[in-house]
Each structure stands twice: as C-alpha cells, then as structure tokens.
C-alpha cells in the first residue's frame, strides 16, 4: 500500500481545561474520532469554522502534538514510531503568516538552509547548492540569498516559507491557511506555485483553509469538520456539486462569489457556535441545523458511506437497522 500516504483512524485529541480553582478540570475534545486516508499526490482540504479542530488535527499529523487515542500511519508506519528527524524529512508545514513564521534576524539563505543543518548535512557547499535550486524552484531570485525577511514583500516571504518546507524534499506538506494573509494578486501567484510544485515534485498536500473558493480551486478531496468531528468527506467536484450534510450546504451557501446579482445569502445558521467544552448532545450540529429531526438531539449519527463519499448525518444511512 505504497500510495496511501497518511491513514488516520479514530484519532482523538483531548485537552484538559481548568475552570478555576475549585471547579476541577473538564475535557475539551478538540479532535474527536477522525478517520482519514490521504493518498499520494492528493490535495486534501480541511474546512470548517474556527474552533472546529482543523489546526489541532494538522498538528497531530505533523507530529507536533501526540494524539490522545487512535492511530496514524505515515507511509504504512505508525507515526509515533517514526523518529522525529525522519518525520520532519517526510512532513513539513507552511504557516499562515509569513511575517511571523520567518526569523527576522536570519538571512533568507540561512532560513531556507536550516532544515538541512537539522538533518545533519554539514557540507556547506551542498547546502548552498540545494538552497539555490529550491529558491529557483519557488521563483525566488538567487540574489535574495543574503537578504533579510524585512526586505521582502509578503508574497516573497511566503515563497521563502515554501522553499524552507521543500528544501529536504518532503513527501507531505501541511499548509495552514497558506494564502489568507496575502493580497488577492499575490494569493493567486502562491496558489499557482503550490499547484505547479505538486505536479513537479509529486507532493501530497493537506490544506487548511476557510476560503472555500480557494479550496475548490486547489483541492482534490475536501473534509468538512464540525466540533472535532469529520461530518463530510468527498471528492471536491462531488462536494461542491452535491453537498450532503446540512452544515456543508450552509457553509457553501455562505461563500460570497463575486457575482453582484446574487445578494447576500441567508444561511439560517444562527449566531452561536456551540462551546466546544460543552458540546450539544446527539448530533453536535443539531441546534443550528435547518433539517434537524427529533432523534438528532438524542442520538449521535453514525457515519455513512455514499459511494466514494462519507457523511455523518441522520438524514443518510439506515439507522433503523
């Protein structure tokens, strides 16, 4: 099974939240029983509102946070058994804000070359060569080698962050909101670059984004998260053409495409996102759901496979059996 890059089964991450001196601790289930399979060359997008656990899941996949329960395999090996250095060689992150993810006191060359030092490469000529090839790959002119981050524009900085992630030629890139801090014209350049690099280096991406237009453009599969649960997962074209879960429907309705005649959608979602420490009983989405049924407030739905897609909602599947 060499073409399955990441396989997560029943991954859970709990945080224990202190609520004051005398009230004891409470458990927050940031990621709650997530199953995911990512194949080589796929672009999986994780979408959902803030607080739904997408960043926590990404951190677990990067090996930055251990999971509380469940198992993750990377290229067939359990992620907890992969040594740190090897994990870092296989999976690399790109963060949202290139203004805070680059050390302002280091030159571009040393920022991009640092992961090679970490991996134990000592030949400085080899490092320089590799850094320059990678800079070329992401469209950074090599004269910027000795520059500092403050001399660069936002788009160039994000290119530096991408080059740093790529310098050891990883297999998987986890991008947490890679373009949301950038201007529109720069955003499109970075998205094009990410697409080109994927084809060129046969990379696998996990992209976290709240911009669904971007997701539709770049992702091959989309996983929708709500309060730590994966509520729907499908191929991008499928999901955008026929969203199944009422939450996905509402999420897609809220996307403001640049079409002046359409007006502002009324999603009927209600204002409040539930407190994740105290999630609703039954289906976590039922208080905001337009199609909620009596059983939704008492019984948690089971996941249902619909062809290639997965949805977790009482509207689908055969609960009666």
């Amino acid at each position: 099974m060499s073409d399955v890059m990441i396989n997560a089964s029943n991954v859970t991450r709990n945080f224990s939240i202190s609520r004051g001196m005398f009230r004891g601790k409470k458990t927050l289930r940031a990621v709650n029983g997530v199953n995911l399979t990512v194949k080589r060359g796929e672009v999986l997008a994780l979408v959902g509102e803030s607080g739904c656990g997408k960043t926590t899941l990404a951190k677990i996949l990067l090996g930055l946070l251990p999971q509380t329960a469940g198992s993750i395999t990377l290229c067939g090996k359990p992620i907890n058994e992969v040594p740190r250095l090897e994990l870092a060689r296989l999976v690399q992150p790109i963060f949202q804000d290139p203004y805070s993810s680059l050390n302002p006191r280091k030159s571009i060359g040393s920022i991009i070359g640092l992961p090679m030092h970490v991996q134990g490469v000592e030949d400085s000529h080899a490092i320089r060569r590799q850094v320059e090839t990678t800079m070329d790959l992401v469209g950074l002119p090599s004269r910027l080698f000795g520059s500092y981050p403050n001399q660069l524009s936002g788009g160039q900085r994000q290119r530096v962050a991408i080059a740093r992630a790529l310098v050891n030629r990883p297999q998987v890139i986890v991008c947490d909101e890679p373009t949301s801090a950038l201007d529109v014209s720069v955003q499109s350049q970075i998205l094009n670059l990410l697409s080109d690099l994927r084809k060129e280096l046969n990379l696998t991406y996990i992209i976290i984004s709240h911009n669904l237009a971007v997701v539709e453009h770049i992702a091959t599969r989309v996983a929708v998260m709500y309060l730590g649960r994966l509520v729907e997962e499908a191929k991008t074209t499928e999901l955008f053409a026929r969203p199944q879960h009422p939450y996905t429907v509402a999420l897609l309705e809220s996307v403001l495409t640049p079409e002046p005649s359409l007006g502002i959608p009324n999603t009927q979602l209600g204002a409040s996102y539930p407190n994740p420490i105290d999630p609703p009983n039954g289906c976590a989405f039922h208080p905001r759901c337009a199609r909620a049924m009596p059983q939704c407030s008492t019984q948690a739905p089971n996941g249902t496979r619909l062809g290639q897609a997965f949805v977790e909602c009482h509207l689908y599947g055969d609960e009666s059996h």
Binding site: S188, I218, L251, S254, L256, P258, P260, I264, N266
Partner: protein, 331 residues
Amino acid sequence: MPDRVLEVKNLSVDIPLAEGVLHAVDDLNIHVDKGETLCIVGESGCGKSLTSLAIMDLLPKKAIRKLHQLDLAGTSILDYSEKQMSDIRGNKMGMIFQEPMTSLNPAFTIGNQMVETLQRHRNISGENAKKTALIMLEKVGITAADQRLKQYPHQLSGGLRQRVMIAMTLLCEPELIIADEPTTALDVTIQAQILLLLKELQSEYEMGLILITHDLGVVARIATRVAVMYAGQIVEEGTVQQIFENPMHPYTRGLMRCIPVPGKTKPGEPLGSIPGMVPSLIGEFTGCRFADRCSHATDTCRSLNVNLRAEEENTQAYRCIIDPKTMAKVA
C-alpha cells in the same frame, strides 16, 4: 443636495518620512448618498484605510491631511475643532473596525460601554439609555440581550462582538457608517450573517455606508458603487455592475482574474496574476502608477498623469489612456 451624506473633494494624505514625503493618498474624491453602499477596494498599502481615517480626522499625528471639501449631510465639517469632531464621531458618523476585540474596552461590560456612548452624545437618563441599548442589541439579533449587557467583551464570540459593535454604532442613528474590513476576522458563515445584518439595518435607517475591504466577493454582494484604489489613487469608480461585468482599468481586470470563482475558473488551471510590486510612493510620481505591472503600458503611460474620467455620462470613470479595444485584443 439633501440626499448626499458625504462629499469629499481633493483629499490628499502625506506622511513625512526620513527618506522623503510619502504620498499615501493622492487627490481623492468620493461621495456617498443616503442608503447607498460605497465599497473601497484595494490591496494592502493602497491607502484605503488612511482614507477612512482622514474622513474621521483620526489620522496619526505625523500624517498631513489636505482637503478642499468635506461635507457631512450637507454641513461642512472641514474646519471643525477636535471637540466638534468628537461630538460627531460615534454620533453622526459611526465606525466599525476589523477586530472587535481591540475596539471594545475589555475592562467594562457591554452595557456600560453602550450607555456611555449614548450619554456622551444624548441628554438621556441612565435608565433610558439602558433600555435603548437593550432594544438595539435585540435589533442586531442578539438573544438574551439583558444578560449580554452585563457581560464583558471576552465572554462573547467574535461574531457576537461584531454584532455588539454594530449595535453600538447604531445607537445614535448615524447618517454615515464607515466599516473598515468588518468581517475579515470572522468565519464565512458569520461573515454572511453580519453583512446581511448591515444591509438590512442600512436600508431601515437609510444610512450611507462606506465599506473598506479587499474581498471582491463581499464587494460584489453588498456594494451599490465601487471605488478601486491602487497606490493611493482611485483607478476606477462605477456601479457594482459596471465594475464586475465590464472592468476597464487593467488593474481591475487583473484583480478579477486573480480570484478563483466556483463554477467559472476551472479547478487546477492556473489563475491570473499581476506581476511586479506596488511602486514606492515616496517623492513625486509622474505617469500611471500601474504602468510597471501593466502589460499594455507604453512610454506615454509612464510620462503622462491621467485623470479619472468617464467615456460617457453613464459609464464608469477610470484612469487609463489605453484604447479599450486594443486592451480587449491582448487580454
């Protein structure tokens, strides 16, 4: 012109720096009518936020504001003193900022802050002010409003905070609201709700609304008129249909090609992009500011200052000398 809420003529903002004078906003004219939404759109550093601060006279001390005319609801407020301006701000002219957490005072309850706003501008008893605040919170769709009044900003979610901000802004029934990226910090689902709320309240109170944003999706759905800014200038101005259906300026056209549109752009196909960077605005600038990034630019573009002009009475105004026919051919 009784229906004109805001008229700004020849606004310039200069910021003196060690390297020279930065011309952040250059000779800008805007106006807003009653019940109208003007969206100012542009990338970071184009001067859109400085424009809004200049209108409210809230520019940083260093910045120099030059203006020929500034009328709010038919009265000139150009020569108002700081005291007079602060009587207007929050009263006739409301503001909504991007991050509601930083514009609400964390040390006071919502109720406290709302009552204070009312008592600052109206001769009203604490009891009545509280009642008005309560009604306003309910109006912006906040449930259990009487409990919310006793809460502090950190106890509310981002969407609720922004609703509270809107309620506060509306307390004194302003003629004009300036909203600077009001939904950028919010989730898409909440964004749609807040914009819908703003639009409904705007038509109810017949306010003028200036919305500053970089999100073309937001602009398309809420604007009546759009002003596209680039490097301190308005490069194109027209109704929302004109700008989105038939953009004329190469920059506007470029922007439109940069955004993925579900159903229109093909997934996986490269998006359009605008090469190059915004020019430095320090010192004097001659010629078109977009010339270095424009694929149609000629030598004339680099030497000639072009004014914002409309081809005909009922088309949008834009700042470009290239014949639209040749532009269409290349693009």
